[in-house]
Assembly symmetry: C2
């Protein structure tokens, strides 16, 4: 199963590269620098785990289409925009991302702000297109879901808590909320969007939602563990940083062993949520093990 999973993940990353290259504007005109910065940030990098979740959730529901790939590209644009803005000097001040200089280092801060803005804008534009799904209401639902997942009650809200949390008491409720918003919301969107494109029923959406919430939190706990244990060369970014900064992390609250146990429990809950789908859920279940064991 693990071999199959790695192959599927790698194949999706390859496909994603092709679709992203089509969706991103071709650098041209006097504003081409920002288009170059968008491509620099979005192409040739990343595990494409969010697109994987979207594509595989749709597949589990028996659906595959070019629209699914374009929806996955839109989602990845939002993820990449968040990385660019989070890396800015006024935010997390990271000069390394996916093993390359961050956008504000490779270009400059102004272009980093604008490239992020443009990727967010492009994501919504992409989701309006007919190719996504023939039903206009489904497209609107995806746009609405994506905005909710990435706005003040989603990813942005999580980032706001994150940049202020070092001065706040590190209680577990706050960290869980932070991570549910900052990382969890977009993973939740990925799985639900795949479900919606695949014609998921209300019950299906409930199951997918439980899966996504547990997986998203496990993912972040693993991130916190890697921040302490990880190898910065393998990670492609600096490690030990969040913990060193006194940022709120699960390792800070539970200790290393406690955090690992919590991640394992969440992984079990994620798999259980997909029991109704039998072998059709094998790949998504394998993704849980990937999240729990990943080294970067």
């Amino acid at each position: 199963m693990s071999g199959t999973f790695q192959t599927r993940l790698a194949n999706i990353a390859t496909e994603m590269e092709t679709v992203l290259a089509q969706v991103l504007p071709e650098p041209a005109g006097p504003q081409k620098r920002v288009m170059e910065a968008m491509r620099y940030a979005a192409l040739k990098g990343g595990k494409r785990f969010r697109p994987f979740l979207l594509v595989e959730a749709a597949r589990m529901m028996g659906h595959e289409s070019l629209g699914v790939w374009h929806a996955a590209a839109a989602l990845e644009c939002v993820h990449v925009y968040s990385l660019i803005h989070d890396d800015l000097p006024c935010m997390d001040d990271d000069d390394l991302r996916r093993g390359k200089p961050s956008v504000h280092k490779a270009y400059d801060e102004a272009l980093a702000v604008l490239a992020g803005d443009a990727l967010l804008t492009l994501a919504f534009e992409t989701l309006t297109q007919d190719i996504i799904h023939p039903d206009a209401k489904i497209r609107l639902q995806l746009i609405s879901d994506l905005a909710a997942s990435s706005g003040t009650h989603g990813m942005i809200g999580g980032q706001v808590i994150d940049i202020t949390a070092s001065q706040t008491q590190q209680d577990e409720a706050l960290i869980t909320q932070l991570q549910a918003l900052k990382t969890g919301a977009l993973m939740h969107y990925a799985v639900i969007a795949g479900g919606r494109l695949g014609g998921a029923s209300r019950d299906d959406l409930r199951n997918l939602s439980r899966f996504a919430d547990a997986l998203g939190l496990a993912f972040q706990i693993r991130d916190d563990i890697l921040d302490v244990e990880g190898d910065s060369t393998a990670m492609g970014k600096h490690t030990g940083k969040d913990f060193g900064l006194g940022k709120a992390t699960f390792v800070g609250v539970h200790g290393l062993l406690g955090a690992k146990a919590k991640a394992k429990d969440l992984g079990e809950a994620a798999k259980t949520a997909l029991e109704p789908y039998g072998h059709k859920a094998d790949i998504l279940k394998a993704s849980v093990d990937f999240v729990l064991n990943r080294q970067k």
Copy 2:
């Protein structure tokens, strides 16, 4: 007519304040600082000229609804986001906006980036809602138009040219393109969105488009004139800055008198485009005089 125009503009600004206060998230939770920053930037300020254009274009087509107001609020959110990001130290570095400290001064840079991101996200979310228009395809068209107007081939593209244009030859073609993208694209969207909500035909959209393009360029030329002639107290921002920075402006190319003549010609063209609508176009035509004569 002018009296009527001023009243209508003021009334729309008042209504806009109410609708924006409803559309913006109520500050709550550990991420409330970003919601406060959004309200600080979006409420109590501005002429609301873009919402005015949207509402009055719809009215000219005989349409008025709560959806028009919400669409106008979404548009204003995009305008405000662009101001917040443009004011950042890495961009135009303006510490004064609408007579108040810019968001990065009143809060901090990280919150300014995130508040801008959140306003852009909120704009798209708002346009997905049923209240905008009963036809899902019209809502999708508005989202698609807004993304195109504010992306790399619209407002963001214009800003990119602007921040690099001081090192570039100030030729008229480039300045016109810069302004068509940076200011014109969103005004064009305002007029077209009002038209679409009002059931405009293809011919109507062509007329509205000609009106909006001429008006948008006249608006920016007036901005350039005010940058040289204006009173910084009346403007609520520093003047003389663009010209002093050697930025590409119409005054730089045409001189003051030449720029004024060009603005006047564009104003005539804008009015001519609305001839087919007779007296129904009176308010939009009056807005042309407002643009040409405004002191701030």
